[in-house]
Amino acid sequence: MAEIVLEGVTKRYPDGSLAVRDVDLEIADGEFVILVGPSGCGKSTTLNMIAGLEDITEGTLRIGGQVVNDLAPKERDVAMVFQSYALYPHMSVRENMGFPLRLAKVDKATIDRKVEEAARVLDLVEFLDRKPANLSGGQRQRVAMGRAIVRDPKAFLMDEPLSNLDAKLRVQMRTQISRIQRRLGTTTVYVTHDQTEAMTLGDRVVVMRQGLVQQVGTPAELYDMPRNLFVAGFIGSPAMNFVQASLTPDTLRTPLGDLPLDDRMRRELERRDAPREVIVGLRPEAFEDASLARDTGGPAVTVTVDVLESLGSDAYVHFSAEGGPVSTAELEELASDSGLADTGAGGNQQIVARLDAATRAREGQPIELRVDLGKAHVFDPSNGTNLTHPES
């Protein structure tokens, strides 16, 4: 059990490329922190540096108050779960789980006791004498977890431990990991590219992009107050909608219609001396079917429904806004990472609204939507900063 502190941690490869730039992060004892970002953002490199599998070029890394920059992985007392599980194929489940203890020269009886205990927690007792090749994906994943927990390490490091599982199992294992972590109270750093995993598992989430930390915060903070366009577009599913807008003293002129600025927005925008052309970000739930709206405040826009997806609990209404799609470096990176760039959704900007299931929206029919400006964000297109973020 220990806190992990990164101070100005940087990874530069021999060819000069920077994988991780100047990361400052304090992970409290017992905290569950998620590193999330698209592939190549430096999250795995950061984790490997904490594990000691990659050298730290600059900065200091402290685990439990001790500077461990130059310590070998074995001296750091951390356990790691790999995406490939990395089970030793020639050893049985029992031997796999006992391997760290065997290396630590723990006596045989203690090893047996601890392995059995972990196996009980993970529901692996009947598989203890099998080889990994004879286990299913989910069982292998649990063995990998078991190998980490038998040691009672200072910290768990997990590198996309669930991404090789199918969707249903992933959800189950997610809950199980969460439960085990709470029970053991071990500091955990968890790497994933899946923002749903990040939002559901973490006490705090670190969003990274191109080796830089974009924002650190609780899932709710990231969702409600993204610091920039990248975090805004990355967190949330369906993703935040973005439209071009021109800023006048008291309205935002968007292809959807004019949205009057409220006091909060006006104040923040003035304080930051916002440019004339901005990007407005609206979460799908910022829209509401006007005919079902409880309060009548807020501006309304009328749009034509392209596609209606009814999920029973909610209805997703897709429509397009005039004018080309919003394009910035951040959004393009997000699109290419999620594969959206390949779906050919060019042309007009596509917008998704999450409406109450009782909506009377019909495909091809116009519908009036009320916009909750309290949930709107305004971004500077040049650098992606959220101009309506209360602190930055």
Partner: protein, 277 residues
């Protein structure tokens, strides 16, 4: 359809028989010769008319052959063990580490394999004479090792490459030193590869004639293939053909047994390297 299948099978059967006969005919010829008596040796029949064990008894009565057999076994085994140990470590480095001069190392080892051994025999002869290892076990072990190492490195590095790197990382995080990770995780997984390599290297050393004949002068280090060349008949009027044939059969047998015993291992090793986590 069935008829077509049958004629297809027949065609394959015929081809197989022809190939097997073609490959085994010289072997049978030697075996037949080894069982013939001196008088029937040149009768040209494929099956000995007059079976005898005399040739086998004969070669085991002289130290010429028995001593050579001991040399052969000792030299081939020692060379194999050293080549496999060095090869395993070198192959691991080649497969896993990035170090300056790696390409050069790979190139050099390939270069050794490309040199026709005959071109190196005279220099080796002179070197060994001047440093005093001519006609000794090390005098053969060292060149065997040298020439089989490229083979060992190539085969083994292919195996090492197939072992997921994550396993070593996992071992390191689990608290293994690099040496422990290598010994407890990598080597057991590469075992089929190590085995295959060992057998190939052993066969190379066992069968070599060129170095054996050039770098030895007495019984003290002469291996069987070379010793056979020095066989004489029991009198000067007698051809040693029968003894040569018997000796050839005797040294072929261990190889055949080896390959039959480990056939499955070799094939499994060559094809799968099955290390899927």
């Amino acid at each position: 359809m069935a008829a077509a299948g049958r004629s297809h099978a027949t065609r394959w059967g015929v081809v197989n028989v022809v190939v097997v006969l073609y490959a085994l005919f010289p072997v049978w010829w030697i075996v037949a010769l080894s069982f013939k008596t001196p008088s029937t040796l040149t009768d040209g029949s494929y099956i000995p008319t007059d079976w005898t064990w005399e040739n086998y008894k004969g070669i085991f009565q002289t130290s010429e052959f028995t001593r050579a057999l001991i040399n052969s076994i000792g030299i081939a085994l020692i060379a194999t063990v050293i080549a496999v140990i060095l090869g395993t470590m070198a192959a691991y480095a080649v497969a896993r580490l990035r170090f300056p001069g790696k390409q050069l190392l790979i190139g050099m080892s390939l270069l050794i394999a490309m040199f026709p051994p005959i071109s190196l025999v005279s220099p080796l002869f002179n070197i060994e004479r001047s440093i005093g290892i001519f006609d000794t076990w090390p005098g053969l072990i060292i060149p065997y090792m040298t020439f089989s190492l490229p083979l060992a490195i190539y085969t083994l590095s292919a195996f090492f490459r197939e072992i997921p790197w994550d396993l070593e990382k996992a071992a390191k995080v689990d608290g293994a030193t690099p040496a422990q990770a290598f010994r407890l995780v990598i080597v057991p997984l590469a075992a089929p590869g190590v085995f295959t390599t060992a057998i190939l290297v052993f066969i190379f050393c066992w069968n070599d004639f060129l170095f054996a004949i050039s770098l030895t002068s007495t019984e003290s280090a002469r291996t069987v293939p070379a010793a056979i060349a020095f066989f004489t008949g029991s009198s000067q009027f007698q051809q040693p053909t029968g003894s040569i044939a018997a000796a050839a059969v005797v040294i072929t047998v261990p190889i055949i047994i080896f390959v039959l015993l480990f056939q499955r291992r070799i094939v499994a090793g060559l094809t799968s390297g099955a290390v899927k986590g």
